[in-house]
Amino acid sequence: MEFEEFLDRELVALTRFAGVLVGNRQDAHDVLADALLAVGPQWQRISRLDHPTAYVRKAVVNRFLADRRKAGRRRTETTGEAHRLDRPVDDVSTAIGNRDLLDRLLRDLPRQQRSVVVLRYYLGLNDAAVADQLGCSVSSVRSNMSRALARLRVSPELLESEARRP
């Protein structure tokens, strides 16, 4: 399979994956472009792998995680103190409020934890497959997942939101 054929088949899905993984369109573009520019010249070799798509996805995840240090220097991160942010007002629908809340909670997750959550709950991969994609152990996946879910569940914003529910 030529690289062009691969792009015809997988590019749209990869853009969605990158968008969900990164949570920011411009950065998702950069991460995915970097990954594709890196794999393109090696496509002859990659195309012979059993799962070239998984390889490319792994490259995307690696770029996202490797970008942490640079990102810290050049980017203004969202604050973890979400209580300082504007809250959904009462006349906004509950659905939109919840979506906004979850967006913020996901955005505040450390990248490793966010990656684990995306690979598990967006792509539906099992622990072993997530570990393979991240290049870490299964136990590391589980501990990151546990921390991520705990963070999502025990967040004050979430608890507050839960309390507001009828």
């Binding site: 968008g19 969900v20 890196a38 002859q44």
Partner: protein
């Protein structure tokens, strides 16, 4: 507490952050075209002559010392780093990547101008030393791999997906592949040095993104 369904729905909604596939296609096409221009410019006898020269110098040292690593003098003769820049790291200057590679090639060529490789049956140590010297000239003294196979012009050009010379298609060649951090950014790159064992053609070089699977061409040596 968040349910699994809610989490999955929230993640799926973040597909709205997906970048534009058309923009990515444009970027990839532009980059591929730029790489192709660089490859064409680097293809042909220029770089090969330089590589052979560097190899020949190294080969002489290998013959006398049995050491596969070039001596300080040889290494210095093909080193393109500015004074004071540590070895083992890619060259970092403001010059363009293409100019840097061309300069490395020219320096190799100058250092090896008077030498011709007697390549009817080159020794593995000589080929390995050539690889070390060329890699150093191109900016990585500790390349990830130096591998080669004996094949034919036709088979090699099929792998390189390039139009080869039909006249000498069955001539035996050594395809020497160097993989290392040859770019200024430290990114991985691959060069193929083709050495015609009949001596009818000058050596040639493809790169910096000429990675091929050598194993399909024959027994890979390191």
């Amino acid at each position: 507490m968040i349910t699994t369904d809610e989490l999955q729905r929230a993640l799926t909604e973040q597909e709205r952050f997906a970048p534009d596939p058309a923009q990515l296609r444009q970027l990839l096409a532009a980059t591929a075209a730029r790489r192709q221009r660089t490859r064409r410019r680097l293809g042909g006898p220029l770089l090969l002559a330089a590589a052979v020269a560097a190899v020949a110098t190294t080969t002489a040292i290998v013959s006398s010392t049995g050491d596969t690593v070039p001596s300080g003098r040889t290494a210095a003769s093909v080193d393109t780093r500015p004074a004071g820049q540590p070895t083992g790291a890619p060259v970092t200057t403001a010059e363009s990547e293409q100019d840097r590679i061309m300069k490395a090639v020219e320096r190799c060529q100058a250092s090896a101008e008077p030498v011709r490789l007697d390549s009817a049956q080159p020794e593995p140590d000589a080929i390995r030393a050539l690889g070390v010297a060329c890699a150093a000239a191109l900016g990585d003294r500790q390349p990830r791999s130096i591998e080669w196979v004996r094949t034919t012009v036709r088979e090699l050009y099929v792998q390189l997906r390039a139009g080869g010379p039909a006249t000498y298609a069955d001539d035996p060649v050594i395809a020497l592949q160097l993989v290392g951090a040859f770019t200024q950014a430290g990114g991985s790159g691959a060069f193929i040095v083709m050495i015609d064992l009949t001596g009818k053609q000058p050596p040639s070089v493809q790169g910096p993104d000429a990675a091929i699977n050598l194993a399909v061409l024959g027994r890979v040596q390191r």
